[in-house]
Symmetry: C2
Subunit: 137 residues, 2 copies
Amino acid sequence: MGQSLTIRVDPKGDRPPSEQIAAQVRFAIAAGVIEPGARLPSVRQLAVEALVNPNTVGKVWRDLEREGVLESRPGDGVFVAVAAPELCKDARDRELTARLGAWVNDARSAGLEEGELRELFERALAPRRLRRVGERS
Amino acid sequence: MGQSLTIRVDPKGDRPPSEQIAAQVRFAIAAGVIEPGARLPSVRQLAVEALVNPNTVGKVWRDLEREGVLESRPGDGVFVAVAAPELCKDARDRELTARLGAWVNDARSAGLEEGELRELFERALAPRRLRRVGERS
DNA sequence: TGGGCCGTCCTATCGTCCTAGGACAGTGCG
DNA sequence: CGCACTGTCCTAGGACGATAGGACGGCCCA
């Protein structure tokens, strides 16, 4: 319980660091890893951990406050809002649905049939099983 | 048959226009919509259709030629290479697998169980059916 | 041969995002 | 009170991609 939250940022990912951080925070709240009233790492502290600029973290905190997910108390810290879980679950479902819809759309336009989509999905669900032939379970 | 290829670019999408065009071309080749030897739209022509800069299209043609997908004959046009379908199918499968893997990873970190993942997947496969609650199965 | 189309290349400019470093006011605690 | 910590704000700069406009040589066909 010491570390309630671990943020990982890939500086050369296809999505900017600020969005990566925001998405991870939203998902953590939706999953119940962080609960309303909980305090988040400070701008400078998380900046060191995630290897980003303090301004980048500050921007995320500000954006999430405008969404109603966080409550910022200058001089004290930022905290998870009461309505945050509901908001984040909605946002999570919307984002996951949109991404999966785009994936299905792209896969179909690339000539894959429904059976192949299902096969890829099953493989993605169980990446540990049926990896190679002779592998310890 | 008149229009062998229609490229759509969303200027404010999360991915840059050049990558959107390259992905659509690769997918079209993988799907068999365009076959080896076929001629692609000219840099200037596609630039007008897709509402992008000719330099952007030129960059895509050059990148895809370095991949071995296209063959550029200056003064004549760019054409689908013989080995392109194989290359594009591999690239397509790798990209779709990676994207779906990332999706499953994110969905799990957001607190969703395997059953919920399957439900979202079924819904994405059949967006027309089971829209609302009270519907015959 | 000449005109039109082709891909390529060049320089310059713009917008967006992250980085960098500093300054400020508010809060909590000893 | 005084100090450490908090979020916020400001200016400046760089990286990256797209845009803009032009110039070059190659290819096809009348």
